[in-house]
């Protein structure tokens, strides 16, 4: 199994190392993202509201995906404590935030994961879990996750890069496709993705290489048809662009595709997509309780322009903050746009 960049002591495992590459826009002859946003009158970029509270409960994962922007893996030990989870609960209890989006690593590997979901559910929040699917089969103690998700009406959002084993395994590891198919069938068996159950099972497609995702609707048609061959049903398909952060950035640099990919993102800049970027309605919390504009800023340790720890959560200040931008933001504004919920335009 691959090691994380951090375990390898790779230069691009550090936020500083990544920002050094991203900041050198002149070297690859592309404009600064801030200038692009300024050109369309969106600078300073401000939140529209805070509707989604995304919590990264840890970097530990049973997989080591080639494109992972978290640099997650079995060798990552960062994990959110129950105390920090409690601080999250206290922070959002009396707010209008209705959706809590749990991610990782494999969020289910956090020992307090189930407690957190139960507390959020009891509070009336809609919970999303970014499930990598294989975790359900990784250990008998996770086999009942489909029933647990069902009990709390969790919206399961699962990565499945492609509907063939070759491309999926190349990105996520040998055998991942077959295990993912089995896990999807287990989720279907308890009602997920089935009409009339209200149990939402959404899939995430992201390209297995240095190219942009195509039209989300066209991809949905293909995934629907291909997965029916395995008797699998699901609800939505979110097409997501790979952002040049962490392991995907390392892949781009190593294969000398960085310049071409960044130019492709810049050429595909879509002002309409920029209007709907996820940082305008989402807040991201790291395993150690710091606040970020999005999951990608979190990995680059670009903390919010406001009191930046969950202990000092200030919804008014956060709603008025200026969102921090960098060159990786081109990933969210290319083509039809990209966010955790798929295309934005």
């Amino acid at each position: 199994m691959l090691k994380s960049l951090k375990k390898q002591n790779h230069k691009l495992s550090s936020p500083e190392g990544q920002i050094e590459v991203l900041d050198d826009a002149e070297a690859i002859n592309i404009p600064a993202f801030k200038d692009k946003i300024s050109d369309i009158g969106l600078l300073p970029l401000k939140p529209t509201s805070i509707e989604i509270f995304q919590v990264n409960v840890g970097k530990m994962c049973n997989q080591v995906c080639a494109h992972c922007h978290v640099d997650a893996g079995p060798d990552r030990k960062e994990i959110m404590t129950q105390e920090t989870m409690q601080q999250c609960l206290d922070a959002i209890r009396d707010t209008d935030i209705k959706t809590v989006d749990l991610t990782g690593g494999a969020p289910e590997m956090n020992p307090s994961f189930r407690w957190f979901v139960e507390e959020l559910s009891a509070m009336g929040k809609q919970v999303i879990v970014r499930c990598n699917l294989t975790i359900i089969l990784a250990n008998p103690k996770y086999n009942d996750l489909p029933e647990f998700f069902k009990k709390h009406n969790v919206n399961v959002v699962s990565s499945l890069p492609y509907f063939t084993a070759k491309r999926t395994d190349a990105q996520r590891g040998d055998g991942v496709f077959d295990k993912s198919i089995k896990a999807l069938q287990m989720l279907n068996a308890v009602g997920y993705g089935k009409k009339g159950t209200g149990l939402k099972l959404d899939l995430v497609y992201n390209p297995a290489g240095a190219f942009l995702p195509g039209d989300q609707g066209t991809l949905l048609d293909q995934f629907t048809k291909k997965l029916l061959e395995y008797d699998i049903e699901f609800n939505e398909l979110f097409a997501i662009t790979n952002l040049p952060v962490s392991r995907f950035l390392e892949y781009l640099v190593k294969t000398e595709k960085y310049e071409d990919y960044m130019n492709e993102l810049v050429n595909a800049f879509n002002p309409m997509a920029a209007q709907g970027v996820m940082c305008r309605n989402t807040l991201s919390v790291s395993w150690d309780g710091y606040l970020y504009d999005c999951d990608f800023n979190q990995m680059l340790e670009l903390k919010v322009n406001a009191p930046s720890h969950i202990q000092e959560f200030d919804i008014d200040a956060l709603t008025k903050r200026e969102i921090i931008l960098n060159q990786h933001c081109y990933g969210c504004t290319a083509g039809a746009g990209s966010s955790c919920g798929g295309t934005t335009a």
């Binding site: 492609y162 509907f163 063939t164 390209p207 190219f211 195509g214 066209t218």
Partner: protein
């Protein structure tokens, strides 16, 4: 020194052909854009046809452009290779069907 008539970077310059003849160049790109819009055929179907034709006309720029386009559209390797086999079948068939001419000639010339 590796040098060929084909340069990968030239694909990015394709749009510049309008600089020396704007009217005809613009007409071409307008037409080209219209051809590849969704119509009686889907964009995906048109891209697969384009990939097959690219192999028939042996245009490396077109092969690169439509391979990238089809990857974006989520088309898998098997489907792309089947499109190339369609080209191969037509090209080999086109050679073989002329064998009938050869047979006609032979039959005409022999007693």
């Amino acid at each position: 020194m590796k040098e060929t008539y084909y340069n990968k970077e030239d694909l990015k310059k394709f749009g510049q052909i309008t600089e020396w003849q704007k009217e005809l160049g613009d007409k071409f790109f307008d037409y080209y854009g219209s051809v590849f819009k969704e119509g009686a055929l889907t964009e995906r179907e048109k891209s697969l046809i384009a990939l097959a034709v690219s192999h028939a006309v042996q245009c490396p720029y077109c092969i690169e452009a439509y391979t990238s386009d089809l990857l974006k559209k989520g088309v898998d390797e098997e489907q792309m290779m089947e499109a190339v086999h369609v080209t191969a079948a037509i090209k080999s068939g086109a050679a073989l069907v002329h064998g009938v001419q050869m047979m006609n000639q032979v039959n005409d010339k022999l007693m």
